[in-house]
């Protein structure tokens, strides 16, 4: 019964743990999917801006006959290119502009296809936010792309160098803004929140189950332990009784001799000290596998497991008897009490019909020990 109960307990704990693991794996997978989609959007934007930059470069080459100086010197060409580039300005490609580097190393607008207040004038100084990115383009003479994600969307800058005579003469800059990722995130957001809440709730449930199980076992342990002697009580014997294999268990009944006199002469407090002390001595004299039970007032029962050698049972009984009788029990600094113990041992439990019968036999042996003068061991050989 106890074993069955244990397995149900494990199941109760195991199910929520598996549930949490599944939810966590779902959450991680959704997170991976979001990151993957972010990467996809990043790649799409990068490809789009790269293609647009190539188109712009082509337009500039066509309009200037591959001589960028024309853009510097001829207002009409600059206006025409600006108008052509303005056709590509959109919600996505927010700003399209070309910047050159002056003799002092300052960036300045060559042309700007942007409308309104954001438009930079020809020759106007330009302060890049990602100055390292710009420097890299000049040094490497290769395009560069940088993006960042915030609550409003994906912001990116694509830079393409215009190289003439192996020197970067100007840089085509595209400032990109897309809300695709934000839209995607918003769609997934409720699912993501749901999973997060589910994980938190599951963890709370697991914690509660652990706590309840711990409290249950604590209470259960308290209910089967005698508070005075810290030994098992009869409730424990009742719960394990059905599982005891009598063929391999001897039963020992012990009773403190003349305990009533102790109580009557020195009071119940002294009696309690004697009981606790005897219990402790019994525990020391027995083995870890032996179950010591406070059976009645001053009566103890020991379940002793053995393999083949029944002599070891007798040895244990002798050890207990000697440990109790060899020295007085100190109640307080003025009072020490000498007690002895009578023991009845049933080592032929396999001949009994059941536990009650086996206990009865042990009890009869105890009765015999009492009748034969106490402070002795009687065994049903």
């Amino acid at each position: 019964m106890v074993k069955k109960y244990f397995s149900i307990q494990y199941l109760f704990i195991l199910i929520p743990i598996i549930f949490v693991l599944i939810v966590m794996s779902l959450y991680l997978q959704s997170d991976l999917a979001i990151n993957k989609s972010k990467q996809e959007i990043y790649n799409i934007e990068k490809n789009r801006s790269s293609k647009l930059s190539s188109k712009i470069l082509k337009i500039i080459n066509e309009e200037t006959s591959s001589d960028l100086n024309r853009l510097f010197l001829n207002n009409a060409i600059r206006d025409r290119v600006e108008k052509l580039l303005a056709m590509y300005v959109s919600q996505e490609f927010k700003y399209i502009y070309i910047v050159y580097i002056d003799k002092k190393g300052f960036y300045r607008y060559l042309l700007d296809a942007t409308f309104g207040a954001d438009r930079g004038e020809f020759g106007q100084k330009f302060s890049p936010m990602l100055s390292e990115l710009w420097k890299n383009v000049i040094v490497s003479k290769k395009p560069a792309y940088s993006s960042k994600q915030d609550a409003f969307g994906l912001w990116a800058t694509h830079l393409t160098p215009i190289v003439e005579q192996n020197k970067v003469k100007a840089i085509i800059a595209l400032d990109i803004s897309t809300t695709e990722y934000t839209k995607f995130s918003k769609i997934l957001s409720p699912f993501d929140s749901f999973l997060k809440i589910l994980i938190i709730v599951s963890i709370i449930i697991i914690f509660t189950i652990f706590l309840l199980t711990y409290l249950f076992y604590k209470l259960q342990k308290q209910s089967i332990i005698d508070p005075l002697t810290k030994l098992y009580n009869r409730l424990y014997l009742n719960s394990v009784g059905k599982h005891i294999k009598l063929q391999k268990t001897a039963i020992m009944m012990l009773d403190i001799d003349y305990f009533k006199k102790v109580n009557d002469s020195y009071g119940h407090d002294a009696g309690d000290v004697v009981l606790a002390s005897v219990a402790k001595k019994i525990l020391i004299a027995t083995r870890l596998d032996d179950k010591v039970i406070r059976y009645g007032g001053e009566e103890f029962l020991i379940l002793i497991k053995y393999k083949n050698n029944k002599n070891e049972i007798v040895e244990i009984a002798k050890r207990i008897k000697e440990s109790i009788s060899k020295e007085k029990i100190r109640v307080d600094k003025d009072l020490s009490i000498q007690v002895t113990i009578s023991i009845g041992v049933n080592i032929n439990t396999d001949k009994n019909k059941g536990l009650s019968d086996a206990i009865k036999t042990a009890d009869n042996m105890l009765y015999l020990a009492k009748n034969n003068g106490r402070n002795r061991i009687e065994i049903n050989l």
């Binding site: 002092k104 300052f106 954001d118 930079g120 004038e121 100084k125 330009f126 302060s127 609550a151 409003f152």
Partner: protein
């Protein structure tokens, strides 16, 4: 949906607050680079900036007539100043066309732009701290 909208507007308001705080900080840096005064009276043609509550900013937002530095692109205001205050333009166009503008501070393409005119700084005998060198043209 309602919650998403509220959060969105909250983020938006926080964002706008950040930008205006940043603008005031830049105004303060520019003002203190131009004048060696503990508390400088400035006028800005953007009234939202004068609501700044940052105690670390040692600026007083006043009417342009009482200002030490005027941040404006309004030609009429500049004319009425009669050279009594330092003029700082708030658009590149105004900077290019206002002969008195020492520099310009404006927001373009979502980023701050600061320009100081070397020529006009010399005319007014203003020496900027070295950290502003990259803004001088």
């Amino acid at each position: 949906m309602k919650i998403i909208l509220i959060v969105f507007f909250l983020i938006l308001s926080l964002h706008s607050k950040d930008v205006s705080e940043l603008k005031v900080e830049i105004l303060s840096a520019i003002s203190h680079s131009l004048m060696h005064k503990d508390k400088i009276n400035i006028y800005v043609d953007d009234p939202t900036l004068s609501k700044n509550k940052n105690k670390n900013i040692k600026l007083s937002f006043v009417e342009y007539k009482n200002a030490d530095i005027v941040f404006t692109s309004d030609v009429n205001i500049v004319k009425s100043l009669d050279n009594k205050a330092i003029v700082f333009a708030t658009t590149y166009y105004a900077y290019a066309h206002l002969p008195h503008a020492v520099g310009a501070f404006f927001w373009q393409k979502g980023r701050p732009n600061i320009i100081f005119s070397e020529k006009r700084l010399k005319e007014l005998s203003i020496k900027l701290p070295n950290k502003f060198d990259k803004y001088i043209e």
